[in-house]
Structure formats: C-alpha cells, structure tokens
C-alpha cells in the first residue's frame, strides 16, 4: 500500500489477521484476512453475527490489540508503530464503557472532558446537547453505579461524544438503549457526520441502523462478506421479500414457525400482525401460495435486514433454524386464570419513585412484554415480582403467592434470566446446569435426565465443557435460559434476554419462547427491540414508573395511528405513545424537566496537557478513595488501631510473671529467698509447700515457672553446695528464657545483698556488668513502636495500590481510559499521588503518637526520618502498582502483596526477629526486601541518633529499589488488552 492510499482513507487495513486461543486449546480466527478502506467523512456500519470479528477490528484500530499479520493505518498513522498517536485523536466507545460506578454522572463526564482537553466553550455547547440526548441531567449527582443498565450505556456514549475527535469508533453503542434514545443518538451521529464531516465507524447488531449509514461492511467469521452502500445488500433480497396475512384463527407466531419449516425460506418474522419472509431465490406464484397455505402474499420492498439474511445464507449457509423446545412435563392448563397479577405496585428509592402504581395481569400461557425507555422501572418491577425486592406499596401475586414472603419452595415455580449474564463464569456449561439442577432439588435419574434435556434442547453439546464465560454471546443466552428451565417452571421472567444478541440468535430465541408458550408456560419478557414485541400476546408500555398503554400489539399500534390508512410499526407506535405521555405530563414525573443541563465548571486550560490529565485522574482517584469506606478503614482506622495496639498492648517484657516458690523448709534463708521474689516487680510469687501443688499450678498454667527450695537448703548453703531447682513452662520459649534469666538475676541479687550484709556468699569471681545502650530501661515499646511505622507504610503503600490497578482491569474501566490522550505513565502517577498523601498522614500520626503518647525518644534527625519514610512509601507504592498491573486480579494481587510485602515487613525485616540468627538462605532473601533497610534506618534514627554509616547505604539501596520498581510498574502498564 502506498502512502497516497493511506492519506485518502480514515481507516485502511490490508489482510488483517488475529488469532485467539481458548483456554480449552481451540484456535479462534477472529480476523481471517480482512482488508478494508474507509474514506474520510463517511458513516460506516460494521455488521455481522456474534464472533464475526467486529470488536476485534475496532480494538485493532484503537491500538488496544496488535494484529498478528497485516497492516492497519488510522488517520494515516500506522497503529502498530504509534498507537498513542491514534489514541490522541480518536473517540472510542467500547462495548462495555468503563464508567466509574463510584463517581457521579457529572464527575464521569467531567473526567473524560478533562482527559481529552475539552475547552469551556466546547463544554457550553456540547453538554446541553448530550443531556438532551441522554436525559441524564436530572441524575447529574447520582452515582453511575445506581443508574439502570440503559442509562449507563447512555452515559458511556456521552463520555465518548464529549470531545470532538477526528474519527469516532463505536462498538455496539445502542445495546440496551431504548428506541427514543437510539433515535436521538443517531441524530447526533448524523449531525456530526453531516455538519462537521466527522468520520464515524459503528458496529451494530440493530440492522435497521445499517440502513442509515453510507456504507455497510458485513463481517462473518473474520471475513468480509460485503463492503459497499447498504443498498447493495438490500438489492440481494429484491423480489424475494413478501408479506403474508395469517388466517383468522392463526397467530403470526405460528405462521412464522410454519414458514421457517421450509428449506427455501431464509427468514421469517412477525410484523404488524403479518409475517414478513424472505426466500432464498425468486419463486413462482404457485409455489408461493403453496408455501403460504393459501393466505394472501404480497411482495414488498426489502430492507437491509432482508438482504443481510440472504447474504448470510448464500455465503455461510446460515438461516434461522426451526428451533423449538419440548417440555417433558408441560404445566397443567386449567382455564385462563391470571398467574401473575400486580395491583398499584409502588417502589420508592428515597425520594425517587421507580415504580408508580403499576397494575397488570398476565394469563397462563401468555407471552407478556414489558416495554419502556431506559429507567422506566421495568427491571425494578421484575425484581419485585421475583421476590428480589420488597414493594413499597400495592399488592402482587405470582403463581398465587407473594414470592417475597412465601415459602422458599414457591420459587421453584418460576424461572428468572437476569439482564446481565449471571451464571458462574469459571464453571463449564455442564457444571452450571448441574448446579442449578441441584439448586432446584433435582437428584438422581431425574437430574441427569434434565441436564441431558437442556443440552439437547439448547444444542449445547459441542461446548458443554467450555467455561461459561468463554461462550459466544448467543450460547451464553441459551445457557442462561436452559438453567432457568431446569426445573420446568410455570412462569419464566426474562429481562432483556436479546440485548446484544445477533439477529440469527434472536430469531432462534423467540422460536423457543413461542414454543414454551404453546405448551402452557407463561413468559414475561422485556426488550428494546420493538419488532420483538410482535411476538408477544400482550404488552405493557411503561415510562417513568407508570403504565402508559396496555393491550395486544395490534391495539398498541392502533393507539398511535395518525391516519386510518397508515399502520405504524411497533417502534413508531412506541415512540409516539411515550412522547405523547411525556408532553402531557411534563410537570408530573420526576425524570423530565427538572433541569436540562449540568453545571459546567471551567477546566484548567492554562495547565499543560500532562499536568491537566494527571490532575483530573488524581481528583478521580481521591474521590474514589474517600467514598470507599474500606480504603478509609485501611488508610486511617487500621493505622490508629495498630498504633494503640502496639503502643499499649504489645510487649515482650516480662512483668509480674506468676511463679510458684516451693518452700520445703522454713529456714530464714529459704524464707528470705522467697521474700526476694515476693518483693520483685518482675514476679508475682505464690508460695506453696509441696512440689505436687506447684506442678498442679503449672499444669493449669497458673504459674509460668517453679522455683524449688529443697528441705536442706539452708544447711547446704552453708556448705556452699545449695541447689535450686527451676522449672519453666517452655511453650512460649522466649518468655520462658526471659523468666529463667530473671530468676537467676533475682537469686543473684539476693545473694549479693547477703554478701553486702557480711554473710558469706562466694559469688563470682567474674561478675558481668551489663549495659544496654540506646534503651537503658529495656522497654520493648522502644523498638516495637518504630517498627510499627514500617507496617503502616507497607499497609498504606502496597495494600491499597495492589487493589487499584487490578480493580480497573476487573471492572473493565481501562479500555475506555486507554483510548484517550492519557499516557500510561500519567495513569501510574495519578495512582501514586493520593496514596502517597494518605501514607504521609499515617506517618505523621505514628510519629506524633510515638513521640508524645508513648515517649519513644527521637534521637536522630526528624528530616532523616521523613525522607526515609517517604522513600520507603514510594517503594511500597510501586510494589503494589507493579503487582496490581501485572496480575490484573484483586484477590491474587492482595494475596501476593501479603506474601511479598506485609509478611516480610513483619518477620524478615529485623523489626522483631534478629536477621543474623536466620539460616543463610533466609538471610539472603532479606537482602532483597526493602523493609529491611527501612527498619535499619528507623531503629537508628529513633534510638541511636544520626548514624550515617547505617543511613547512607540503606538510602542508596532504597533509591535503587524505587527506581527499578517504578520501571517495572511502568513496563507492566501497557495500554493494551491482554
């Protein structure tokens, strides 16, 4: 490819290949020789079923992944050579936008505006637009984590669109977004393309969206099937697309199922009470009539979707199969009674009313649809019906009971598929099924029967050993359904089951649903694909917690009919109903009007880019830290607790050691000796008569040692051969040794006193004069309290940071952050600063308490102490960041951090145990541990003074360690997905 080519195209790829390997060893060709050229200023759609390679292609284009082969330029920049160059200029919205759930809507938006350098003027223009699109303004102060699924998606979009990039890459931006917002989103995109000549590439599974684009690229299994104007794809179905009116007694659903039985039918979907179907090739009229069973067939103009189905069928042999499901024990059908009923159902969250007097009833065997914009209260209603959430008011009945209060066994009558895939990711397909079978109390033969049934019915055989998190999207959804049907429930709740699922899988899914309903299972479902409402027997449309309309799809459509001759489709009807209600009740619901803009604060544009970005990230990090009670617990509460425990509680000193003195004689010598023990502050002496008594005391741990004065003590003493028997309780060896030496000391002191009084006692001849330097009082607090600073610095430094990078990896917040002008080193720096500050607070706290509460002397320079502590803090911070970014998992990171920082700081630093007495191998390890050098500095600076011979080498090593670890942390934080 010559350079002229790449100048011409916003994105140009040649023969791109990317291979992934599943954990089970299979090879997946995500991209298998893809070449494409996308001109500037165009709107291009990438469409294709699951596993087509859409996401991989966009990730290659943003530099988040590197291609295995091929060449890719974006904006004329080779992405492999200069990913940052691309990331500075593109706007990218990943499938799951990495919102910070503990930041508010406004804080998330401001963060991305700050990171991408949006000026105040731009903000003034852009914010109101974004708020109009997303209707998020009233929720500006709400934490992102408390938004509904669709609202989160919208906020992600707003964060992406806040800047004006040179090219916009959107990966399925409208998944889970309601039709109204989708329409507004597309208006913004079209305006950007038309007015600003922005180049936009969007991957989507809504095929009607492809029709709006100038260009559509159809991908399938890593290959390009079509690349050109959408009309080219539409063309493929010309003369092959028809509409048929089902017979009076037949529903569109049943008709559709019949049509799909035929080999020649590539697609069939219910639409406005009719069935739309697409044939493989043009057919004669007679054949058509035979196909339709005598019903009236009308040829219609094809849509993109129709052409897409033909294309898939021709190239890959793919067509919606006549998927079905057969229940072994269908629920008994005794008449048409309501199995789910709710009356005036209300749910409030604080001042916010999520569900506002909702009433409806669902008959047995019905497919009942719950439709509504994001945040309408659909999921909340579901959760109340399933007993996951208590209602604030009203009544509800599911299968005759309120599941919230009914016996747990009543829940066996319902099945529930949550909005988000929520089975066990690490467990395989079979293990998941096995667990849910067990959860519903199935066992023995029936259990294995049901598992076999599920695997057969949902065609999971070939993937049954795969961990469920690695399943392709459509299969995940099948597995979730299978798990919810293990126990053959009467009622199934499905919350947005087809969100993010490709068109083929969606058709298959709905066939299974209709099959279930035919067999008497009641199905309650929410969806954002309005055409899917056509599958339902009845639907309810909700907005702002209220029911707006209720009835059969035909009745709903008729609500919105503007003229008698024009029948609106479901989507048009939905939008009309919601808009009408919103206009009428503009003053009532809490979601509308309340203020349609967010306050805009002036960004610090005078700062240079890197500083501005770091500032924004530090602000974000600090907010997260302060909002999270657990960081405060580790950063403040734990240090204070440790200081108190160390200062007041821990001591290795022996005071008042309980000792038994066995006096077998009452001579003045014996009682004198016993008196010496009784007077000493080191002992708490109990005098007994016999050894047996004393041993009993020691056995029950009432004394730690026995001093045995035998019956002939006085006589032997005068002979110069007295023997004292000393027994110590050896379980705590250190204490035992101290007590033993105190006993010797006490006896020695008594002897010396007698000698001074002129009574003969041959001591010596050599006497030891002991002097303990630096700690004359022999107070163990003097070394425990400085050691505490090591623990606290380690705790704050390594512990909290070990979580921060891993948390971002786990929550997927980095993908969006990476495709901004932010550099990896800026991310690292911004994670260091807040924890460094927290560490300094901890340091100040410990030094002040050590000095003034526990009166540990500080004999060296305070500056040395501070400098050493900051240096060690930096080392610890970088260990945490390195572990965290290398491991990408919070649990493993924390385990490793305990092992490499906390335990060594406690055990191998010389703070408690003498390093020189350890075996050579262990001693070698200690040289690699930063804590060792910090302890050396601390003990000297507190107790010995400014001992530069100790300080200088230790400082030098800590500096080297900090630099090396910083480099490692930097290298392990690459702006790439694994």
């Amino acid at each position: 490819m010559n350079s002229a080519d790449s100048q011409e195209f916003v994105l140009a790829g040649r023969d791109l290949r990317k291979v992934f390997h599943r954990k089970t060893g299979e090879r997946v060709d995500a991209l298998d020789g893809v070449s494409l050229d996308v001109p500037y200023g165009s709107l291009t759609a990438i469409v294709g079923p699951d596993g087509a390679g859409k996401t991989t292609l966009l990730r290659l284009a943003t530099g988040l992944l590197r291609p295995d082969a091929g060449e890719l330029t974006v904006l004329g920049i080779n992405v492999v050579d200069n990913p940052q160059g691309v990331q500075d200029r593109v706007g990218y919205m990943p499938q799951r936008f990495g919102l910070y759930e503990d930041l508010s809507v406004r804080e998330n938006l401001d963060l991305y505006a700050d990171l991408t350098g949006v000026t105040l003027a731009e903000r003034r223009q852009r914010y109101p637009e974004l708020m109009a699109m997303t209707a998020l303004a009233p929720f500006g102060d709400r934490l992102a984590g408390q938004l509904s699924g669709g609202m989160k998606q919208k906020l992600g979009l707003a964060c992406t669109l806040v800047r004006s990039p040179d090219v916009l890459l959107l990966d399925e931006p409208t998944v889970g977004v309601d039709p109204l917002s989708r329409r507004e989103l597309w208006e913004i995109i079209l305006r950007l393309v038309n007015e600003q000549q922005l180049s936009v590439i969007v991957s989507t599974s809504y095929l009607d969206e492809a029709d709006r684009c100038a260009r559509a690229i159809v991908l399938h299994k890593g290959r390009v099937l079509a690349d050109g104007p959408p009309a080219d794809v539409r063309e493929l179905a010309v003369g092959q697309t028809f509409i048929v009116q089902p017979a009076a007694q037949q529903t569109a659903r049943v008709m559709q199922a019949q049509l799909l039985q035929h080999e020649g039918v590539v697609d069939a979907v219910p639409e406005g009470g009719h069935v739309r179907f697409v044939l493989e090739a043009p057919e004669t009229e007679s054949e058509l009539e035979e196909l339709a069973g005598g019903a009236t067939v009308t040829a219609v103009a094809p849509r993109f979707e129709d052409g897409f189905m033909v294309l898939l069928h021709r190239n890959a042999g793919a067509r919606p199969v006549a998927a079905s499901i057969e229940l072994a024990h269908p629920p008994q059908q005794n008449g048409n009674q309501a199995v789910v009923e709710c009356h005036d159902l209300v749910r409030r969250f604080g001042a916010f009313t999520a569900v506002d007097h909702v009433s409806f009833a669902v008959q047995r065997g019905e497919v009942f649809g719950l439709l509504g914009p994001n945040g309408a209260g659909k999921t909340t209603t579901f959760r109340m019906l399933c007993g996951l959430l208590a209602a604030s008011g009203g009544s509800l009945r599911v299968a005759g009971v309120d599941l919230r209060t009914a016996r747990a066994s009543a829940r066996a009558r319902i099945g529930y598929v949550a909005q988000k895939f929520s089975l066990y990711g690490q467990l395989s397909v079979v293990e998941n099924l096995d667990f849910f079978a067990g959860a519903y109390g199935l066992f023995g033969k029936r259990r294995s029967q049901r598992i076999r049934w599920a695997i057969e019915q949902f065609e999971l055989k070939e993937l049954e050993r795969l961990p469920s998190e690695q399943l392709p999207g459509g299969y995940k959804q099948r597995l979730a359904m299978a798990a919810a049907l293990m126990h053959e429930p009467e009622i199934v709740f499905l919350d947005e089951p087809t969100s993010g699922v490709d068109p083929l899988a969606r058709r298959e899914f709905w066939q299974r649903i209709t099959a279930l309903a035919e067999q008497g299972v009641t199905v309650i479902v929410t969806t954002h694909f309005m055409e899917e409402a056509e599958y339902c027997d009845r639907v309810v449309i909700m907005d702002a917690g209220r029911v707006l309309a209720q009835g059969t799809p035909a009745e709903i459509r008729s609500h919105a009919r503007s003229s008698p001759d024009q029948e609106p489709n479901m989507q048009e009807a939905f939008i009309a109903i919601v808009e009408k209600a919103r206009q009428a009740g503009a003053d009532t619901p809490s979601t509308s009007v309340a203020g349609n803009t967010l306050p805009i604060s002036a960004p610090p544009t005078w700062l240079p880019g890197p500083v501005r970005r770091v500032r924004a990230l530090v602000q974000k990090e600090a907010r997260q830290m302060l909002r999270d009670a657990s960081s405060v617990a580790i950063g403040i509460v734990l240090p204070v607790l440790l200081i108190l425990v160390f200062g007041y509680g821990l001591s290795l000193d022996v005071r008042d050691a309980p000792v038994a003195i066995v006096l077998e004689e009452q001579s003045p010598e014996a009682t004198g000796l016993a008196g010496a023990f009784q007077l000493s502050s080191y002992f708490d002496a109990t005098i007994v008569k016999t050894m047996a008594e004393a041993e009993q005391l020691m056995l029950t741990r009432q004394v730690d040692a026995i001093v045995h004065v035998r019956a002939n003590f006085a006589r032997q003493m005068h002979l110069g051969e007295a023997n004292l028997q000393v027994l110590v309780h050896g379980t705590d060896a250190n204490r035992a040794r101290i007590i033993e030496s105190y006993i010797r000391g006490a006896v020695g002191a008594w002897g010396a006193q007698r000698a001074a009084e002129g009574r003969p006692l041959a001591g010596g001849p050599v006497t030891v004069v002991e002097r303990m330097w630096f700690n004359e009082a022999n107070d163990s607090r003097y070394f425990l309290v400085p050691g505490l600073i090591v623990l606290i610095m380690t705790l704050i430094g390594a512990f909290l940071t070990a979580l921060v990078m891993a948390r971002e990896w786990e929550r997927g917040t980095l993908e969006s952050l990476f495709v901004t002008p932010v550099r990896a080193r800026e991310i690292l720096l911004s994670k260091t600063i807040p924890y460094f500050v927290l560490g300094i607070i901890g340091l100040a706290l410990s030094v002040i308490t050590a000095r003034f509460l526990f009166h540990v002397p500080l004999r060296g320079s305070l500056w040395v102490l501070c400098a050493a502590s900051m240096l060690y803090l930096l080392v610890a911070l970088n260990i945490g960041l390195f572990i965290s970014s290398a491991l990408k998992s919070q649990f493993v990171a924390i385990e490793l951090t305990i092992i490499v920082t906390f335990l060594p700081a406690m055990m191998l630093s010389g703070f408690l145990f003498d390093l020189r007495s350890m075996p050579a191998a262990v001693r070698m390890i200690t040289y690699a541990l930063p804590a060792r050098y910090f302890v050396a500095i601390l003990q000297s600076v507190f107790l010995a003074g400014n001992v530069w011979v100790v300080f200088l080498p230790s400082f030098a090593i800590l500096v080297v360690m900090a630099l090396v670890l910083r480099t490692l942390a930097r290298l392990s934080t690459r702006k790439q997905l694994a």
Binding site: S409, G415, E431, A439, S630, I738, D779, S917, V922
Partner: protein, 372 residues
C-alpha cells in the same frame, strides 16, 4: 428437610469446584500457607546464633583469653573485631557491626588471682532490646561456666547456689516449637475468613447472587452452602500445616489428633461465622478483602502469636476474649506440645462455641434482612 440438604450439597459442590478449578485459586489455597510456614519456621525465632561481638581486651592475659575462647567456642557468638581503643566501641555498636561488645579491664587476671571479684563490662545494642536481652543472657551463662571452672581449678568453694533448670514441653526452649503450632490457627484463619467473605461478595458483584435468590434456596441454606466449603478447605490447610510442622520441622506431637481436630472445628466454625458476617455487611469484593484484613490484623496481633497475652494490659486482655484466634493458638499449643485432653481444653472450646453461635446467627439475620 432432605430437599434442603440436597440444595446445600449442590451449593457446596459448586463452591469447591469453583475454588479448585481456578488455577490461581488453587495455588493461593495451598501455596502460601506452606510458604508462610517455612518463612515463619525459619525466620520467626528469638533464638540467637552468629551474634557478632567485638572485644576490647585491655588485659590480654591467659584468663581473659580463656574467657573469650569460651565465647568463640559457642555457636551463638562470632567475634568480629579485637578493639584497641575505647572510642572504637561506639563505632562498632553504632554501625551495627557488633551486637555485643565485651570490655575487659587491664587488672582482670590480677584481681582474679588475688581472689577479688573481677568485672567484665558487656555493652549491648539495645535498638532491639529483646535481642539484646537474649544476647546478654547468653553471655551471662558463658561467664557462669567460666566461673565454675575457675573455682574448681583454683580450689575455691563452689557457688553457694547452683541452678538445675528444666523446661517443660520444650526442653531446649526453641521458639519454632512455639511458633509453628500457633500457625495452624493463624494461617487457617486468614484463608478461611477471606475465602468466606469473598465468596458471597463475588456473587453479589457478578450478579449470580440474584440468580441464587430466585431458586428455592433459603437464606440459611445459602449460608450453609458457603460455610461448609470454607470449613473443609480450612481443615485441609490446617492439616497441611500440621504435616509441615511434624514432617519438615520434626516438632514432636504429644497430644491426640482427635482432640486437636475437635478444637480446630470449633475454631473454624467461629472463623467461618466471622467471614459470613463480613460478607453480609459488604457490597463488593474489595470491601470484603479490606474489611477482613482490618479484622485479621488485630486478631493476629492480639492472639499471643508474637507477644504473650499475659504481657498485655488487663483491659486489652479482656478484649482478646472475643478473639477466636487466641483460643485456637492456646488449643494448638496445649494439645500439640503439652498433650492436653479434651477436658483440659474445654475452657477454650466454650468461648469458641459462643463466638460461632453469635456470629452465625447474626450473619443469618443479616442475610434475611438485607435482601434488597
């Protein structure tokens, strides 16, 4: 009832499967405890050897040489320097080249031969006063040996009071004998508490908890299904540590395994109860991790593992009454080293039973009242 048992069994199997299937989970379960055992076993010792000492021998007599030879002959001491000037003492102590410095005055031998008491000054680096104290004790013992010999050789009467010392349960007073049995409780508690607290938090974070709640599981069954796997894994870890103590460090086990395991199961119930209580209070895995840690730190420090309980102020000793680890360590010591019987550890068992009952019932109450 039988249904409930089946459900609990299904959950238990799922939990075990999830932990054991994950290679990282597997390695964190059994790798770290063994590693920590080895580190603690080798490093956490108050026993000294290779203590560097310097000597300022101003006497340079046969007597002083003999005394120093005794120090050099002991494995605990290693001479690093012969000083000539008094000022050198400061340097050697300050830069940590010597932990102990002996100063022998120039009239040392003369006084000895004259039958007068002779002094040896022993200076110890008190920056770690515990180590210094131990080293001073060692010097004292060596000097005593020298005295006895000297008196015998010079026909002086023996010291009027001689000591025969014996230590029960740990005849050579080895710190490791104290440390390793204590680890059976300490390390097991760390893992059990974390594992339990995390397993519920993980389900909450991944959304699988809702899926569990719409099945016929009752809250108490979910709790049981979470508690049993942690209990089993805890027992496995305790066994592993017990094996390291016996097979690698060869610390003789004098008690009864049945008694030990009965004691451990009471302890594990209490630990699991605390884990469940934490998990019922937190929303995310991160909170579970950090809160468990905030609990584990004081539990470990105030357990008698590193510093004796009896050396703590009275008030704090009362606080330790609610610390399950305190009882676990006591049980491990008493059964492992002292051969205590079930009756003798009853005083530790009933507080554990109370802790377990209180935490488990609180956790189950929280479970039922926090299903939002």
């Amino acid at each position: 009832m039988i249904e409930a048992i089946r459900r609990v069994l299904a959950l238990t199997l799922k939990e075990l499967l999830a932990v054991l299937k994950d290679p990282r989970g597997r390695s964190t379960l059994f790798g770290p405890p063994v590693l920590q055992c080895l580190i603690f076993g080798y490093a956490a010792t108050f026993d000294l050897n290779n203590v560097p000492y310097a000597v300022l021998d101003q006497d340079r007599s046969a007597a002083s040489t003999e005394l120093l030879a005794r120090l050099d002959g002991s494995p605990a001491f290693q001479r690093v320097a012969n000083l000539t000037r008094h000022e050198d003492i400061k340097n050697y102590v300050n830069d940590r080249s010597a932990l102990v410095v002996l100063q022998i005055g120039q009239d040392f031998e003369r006084r000895l031969l004259a039958g007068q008491p002779a002094e040896v000054q022993v200076i110890a680096d008190g920056r770690n006063s515990n180590t210094a104290g131990t080293a001073l004790g060692y010097v004292g013992t060596i000097v005593e040996g020298f005295n006895a010999d000297w008196r015998r050789r010079h026909g002086l009467p023996a010291a009027s009071i001689a000591f025969e010392t014996r230590a029960w349960y740990n005849p050579n007073l080895i710190t490791r004998w104290h440390m390793l049995p204590a680890l059976i409780g300490t390390l097991t508690m760390l893992q059990t508490l974390l594992l339990t607290a995390m397993s519920v938090a993980r389900e909450r974070e991944e959304g699988t908890f809702d899926q569990l709640l719409v099945t016929p599981f009752r809250p108490v069954e979910i709790m049981a299904g979470k508690a049993i796997p942690s209990f089993l894994i805890g027992t496995g870890q305790a066994t592993l540590i017990l094996l390291v103590a016996q097979l690698w460090f060869r610390i003789p086990f004098v008690g009864s395994f049945v008694t030990l395991y009965i004691g451990l199961s009471f302890f594990l119930l209490a630990a699991v109860g605390i884990g469940l209580l934490v998990s019922s209070l937190v929303a995310t895995m991160q909170q579970a991790l950090l809160f468990s840690f905030v609990l584990l730190m004081p539990f470990t420090l105030l357990s008698g593992l590193a510093t004796p309980l009896s050396a703590m102020p009275r008030l704090l000793q009362y606080v330790t009454l609610i610390n399950p680890l305190r009882y676990a360590i006591e049980i491990a010591h008493r059964v492992y080293l002292e051969g205590a019987t079930l009756g003798q550890i009853a005083g530790e068992l009933w507080p554990l039973a109370i802790i377990a009952t209180v935490t488990l019932s609180l956790a189950s109450w929280m479970f039922r009242h926090r299903l939002t």
